[in-house]
């Protein structure tokens, strides 16, 4: 699941390396519109609908936080 998330992130912002341990939001790697593109792609990839209440920057700050978000929204770990 982690690799799929990285691939999607890479597709959205190819100029950044999402395998590094950094905060994507604080580091300016993802803005709010990137998050919308990311949620759309994750919903489609995993056949879920991420709860609108969960769409806050903190949940998209690292690959691990995104994976946790996916699990919370019904994706099997």
């Amino acid at each position: 699941m982690k690799q799929i998330v990285i691939n999607i992130l890479q597709e959205i912002r190819p100029e950044f390396d999402f395998t590094k341990d950094s905060n994507f939001i604080e580091g300016g790697m993802l803005d709010s519109f990137d998050i919308i593109s990311l949620v759309t792609a994750l919903d489609e990839q995993f056949g879920i609908s991420i709860d609108g209440m969960d769409i806050i920057p903190d949940n998209f700050s690292t690959v691990d936080s995104i994976v946790s978000l996916l699990i919370k929204n019904g994706v099997q770990p």
Binding site: F33, D51, I56
Partner: protein, 354 residues
């Protein structure tokens, strides 16, 4: 606040759209982003094309065009109009009310109440509340509700947060006392502590427009706008909608003793496709029951987005059939409101161009 209204009905809805249409791709170069990123945004948000008035066109032009259409088609008579409510954030003047201007230009009777209401995204619901209350009067039998906004004139063309989604439009809704008994359920809430989530900072008495307020400034996301332009805290608005709207709808249905399945259509305000789809999923409502195709076809014209959703998606159908419809508007104020009512056998339910 939960509300109930008795024995009122909508007998017709008309949307008036400017004929001028602008495609998202034609404006992409104005935004400070790559074409690839803009196109991804287009897909997710449902940006495609929007309707914009030509320079010099005002809301009274659109409203009068719509009303004259109804007079000519015999759907409405001038002497029948006992009240004219105009909900807008694009008045022609600070004073007088634009509804009075429309009354004068059309030569409507003097035995009438004209009023402007400054509301936006929930403006259709608030206008209907006012119409229902006026119809409690013995001498008021027919109310014309006008919703109109031309916010394209207040949005920076270099603001990709707002410009692609804004549309201009007006609608005319006829509201009258119902011939058969009914109960309309509604609710509304407001939170003025977040008044600046959607705002045009300058141009009013607090901060009059000046050369300084017209200066274009780049924000952290790369958008350029001035204090004379509309600014939206997109993240805050999104979170507010996802937090407040689902419980509002649950409460409305509970008060009305109806299930989600009982409702035929959910006609919600349409800021963008992404937000609407998330609301539908959260409420576990099939997306086909909550159309989200107004922004992509016409743009979001604030309080006109719900009447446009009804005329565009249910046009002729509602002139022949009966549907239980849940309306919900949410945004500027902050304001959020919903109505559950039956729309049936409308005399007209259509879109015309200006």
């Amino acid at each position: 606040m939960n509300l109930k209204f008795y024995n009122k009905s909508i007998t017709g809805i008309l949307t008036v759209l400017p004929a001028k249409e602008i495609k998202f791709e034609d404006e992409m170069e104005n935004y400070n982003f790559s074409a690839a990123k803009s196109l991804k945004l287009k897909m997710a948000m449902g940006y495609n094309k929007h309707r914009i008035v030509e320079d010099g066109v005002t809301i009274s032009d659109l409203c009068i065009h719509g009303l004259n259409h109804l007079f000519e088609k015999g759907f409405l008579k001038k002497e029948e109009i006992d009240a004219l409510i105009l909900v807008t954030q694009s008045p022609e003047y600070f004073m007088p009310p634009t509804s009075n201007v429309i009354q004068g230009k059309l030569g409507l009777k003097q035995d009438i109440i004209c009023m402007d209401i400054n509301q936006g995204c929930a403006g259709f619901e608030i206008g209907l509340f006012q119409a229902f209350m006026l119809l409690e009067q013995d001498e008021i039998n027919k109310v014309v509700l006008l919703n109109a906004d031309l916010l394209s004139q207040k949005v920076s063309k270099r603001d990709r947060n707002s410009n692609p989604l804004i549309g201009d439009a007006a609608s005319v809704t006829i509201v009258k006392k119902s011939e058969k008994p009914n109960t309309i359920f509604a609710n509304i809430k407001m939170d003025g502590t977040a008044f600046d989530a959607l705002i045009i900072p300058a141009g009013g008495f607090k901060t009059p427009s000046s050369s300084k307020t017209a200066e274009m400034v780049e924000d952290a996301a790369g958008n350029f706008r001035s204090l004379d332009n509309l600014v939206m805290k997109g993240d805050d608005v999104f979170n507010f909608v996802q937090r407040e709207v689902p419980p509002m709808i649950e409460q409305l249905l509970e008060k009305a003793k109806q299930t989600k399945e009982d409702v035929d259509y959910y006609m919600f305000h349409q800021p963008n496709k992404f937000m609407l789809n998330k609301l539908a999923d959260k409420l576990e409502i099939p997306r086909e029951k909550m159309p989200s195709n107004i922004v992509e076809n016409f743009g979001n014209a604030s309080g006109v987005s719900i009447p446009t959703a009804i005329t565009f998606n249910l046009g002729e159908q509602l002139t022949k059939e009966s549907s239980l419809i849940c309306l919900a508007g949410f945004g500027v104020g902050l304001t959020w409101a919903s109505i559950l009512m039956r729309l049936e056998h409308l005399s007209f339910n259509e879109i015309i161009n200006y």
